[in-house]
Amino acid sequence: MNYNWNWGIFFEPSPEGTGTYADMLLSGLLWTIATALCSWVIAFCLGSVIGVLRTLPNKAANAVGTAYVELFRNIPLLVQMFLWYFVLPEVLPQAWGNWLKQLPNAPFYTGVVCLGFFTASRVAEQVRAGIQSLPRGQRMAGTAMGFTVAQTYRYVLLPNAYRIILPPLTSEFLNNLKNTSVALTIGLLELTARARSMQEFSFQVFEAFTAATLLYVFINLIVITAASFIERSVAIPGQR
């Protein structure tokens, strides 16, 4: 292989004129983190609601939950990005569409919403599985104590379900973080996009993607450490 290695490339100024290549990658990393965190807030809240809907003793609520999950998890994330970014502004009333198109940082907002809604469908399935894995008697016990349905979820079912699904939920968060890279297709300058432009400017493809890889792994290891800390701190004495 005839390749001109240059690990010093990171400290050379990038053609954008705002700093070195390393700065460029780090700014990409920040966008990745911001997108992952914001979309996770949507995914977690919306996913919890949808997951609960699927476990309620109400056919209409089940149908809404099922429809949501099947819609959002059966369309490729990439297609969803295009739909939100290119198609939605055209099908909305013109004033809204124009407002969307002129939004500063539109790729960021669109990426956050798209990823949030997509991951919500997956979180919903985890939440549903967690609730359904609880003994049937727990719901009955809550109901028999005089709790309303909402109170039964709030005080009995959800605290236990979340503890059970914490490990798969961690994986889901990691997926969400890695999926932010799909938003490069709508112009979000996150870490993968930055690695690509570094490669295009400098032709140092190996260095660029080695750095991106290491940064992704580094962030994910932090997430995993935090998750296992949370797991330990909410563990119930005497269980398992």
Binding site: G137, T143, G146, F147, Q151
Partner: protein
């Protein structure tokens, strides 16, 4: 372990007329009637109740009643519908036909506030169903606080009093997973009592226990019965039935086959099915 002195039961409130839901105040003092004060007032009236799962009928025209202060044991082979029947009393299991009236409140009535009704009906489950993420104290107080809106000090005092009564004061800070099955079931009984129920339902409370723990749970139940608590108990513990039941209901295939005074039931059950059942379970 249950020898801790009981808080003296206050006299029941005699003014609450039948057919009208007693007020909460009435419930708080009237739940532990003294022995011998059975008034004949009907606490649970089960009237011609039928229930289907799709095409399959699980309950067929069940009619019986439980008077205030009465202890009624429900027995029968598995699949006979006894657990289902007891769960219809607080509408944990819906039913399609008939009516159930608990302390004057109709269960199958759109205007009935079911959570409120249920909060006055204590229920003890086969598998305890304590809330695993809460300490014993929180298990005893959460429904008092969130359903009855009691202050946390009052709720805690009531919960710990009852915990002492079932002999488990030393475990207040623990989690359910750290207790034995028998201990968990005693906490579950205390949790139900904390709500000042007018009636207690027991759904096979000792079936999931190791044999050596059955006694401690039955002791608590016997004591409760002696205090005059109205109880409906699904159980196979015929010793318990002999000792404290007033009446025994025998069910088979969703029907109430026999509904008799305890002595009559154990003396000579009228139906052949009850005779066969008794001879089978009393053999060992």
């Amino acid at each position: 372990m249950t020898s801790t002195p009981m808080p003296a039961p206050t006299p029941s409130n005699p003014v609450a007329p039948a057919g009208q839901a007693p007020t909460d105040d009435g419930l708080q003092t009237g739940n532990l009637t003294q022995p011998g004060t059975r008034t004949g007032e009907t606490m649970i009236a089960i009237d011609n109740v039928s229930k289907w799962y799709g095409d399959f009928q699980v309950l067929t025209n069940c009619t019986t009643s439980v008077a205030k202060g009465e202890v009624v044991v429900v027995c029968g082979p598995s699949g006979s519908g006894k657990s289902t029947l007891i769960k219809t009393v607080n509408a944990l299991e819906p039913f399609q036909k008939g009516q159930i009236t608990v302390a004057g409140t109709k269960v199958l009535d759109k205007s009935t506030n079911l959570p409120k009704l249920r909060s006055r009906v204590g229920m003890v489950f086969q598998h305890f169903e304590l809330f695993p993420h809460l300490t014993i104290t929180d298990n005893l107080t959460i429904a008092q606080r969130k359903v009855l809106k009691r202050g946390s000090e009052d709720a805690k005092k009531r919960g710990l009093d009852l915990l002492a009564r079932v002999g488990l004061s030393a475990h207040a800070h623990k989690f359910p997973g750290q207790l034995s099955g028998g201990q968990q079931q005693r906490v579950a009984i205390a949790r139900a009592l904390a709500m000042n129920p007018v009636v207690m339902l027991f759904d096979e409370p000792t079936s999931a226990l190791d044999p050596e723990m059955v006694g401690e749970v039955l002791d608590v139940m016997v004591e409760l019965a002696k205090e005059g608590m109205t109880m409906m108990v699904v159980t196979h513990e015929m010793g318990f039935a002999r000792k404290v039941a007033d009446r025994v209901i025998f069910m088979d295939r969703g029907e109430i086959v026999e509904d008799a005074h305890k002595d009559d039931f154990f003396g000579k059950p009228r139906s052949e099915r009850a005779q066969t059942f008794l001879s089978k379970i009393l053999q060992h």
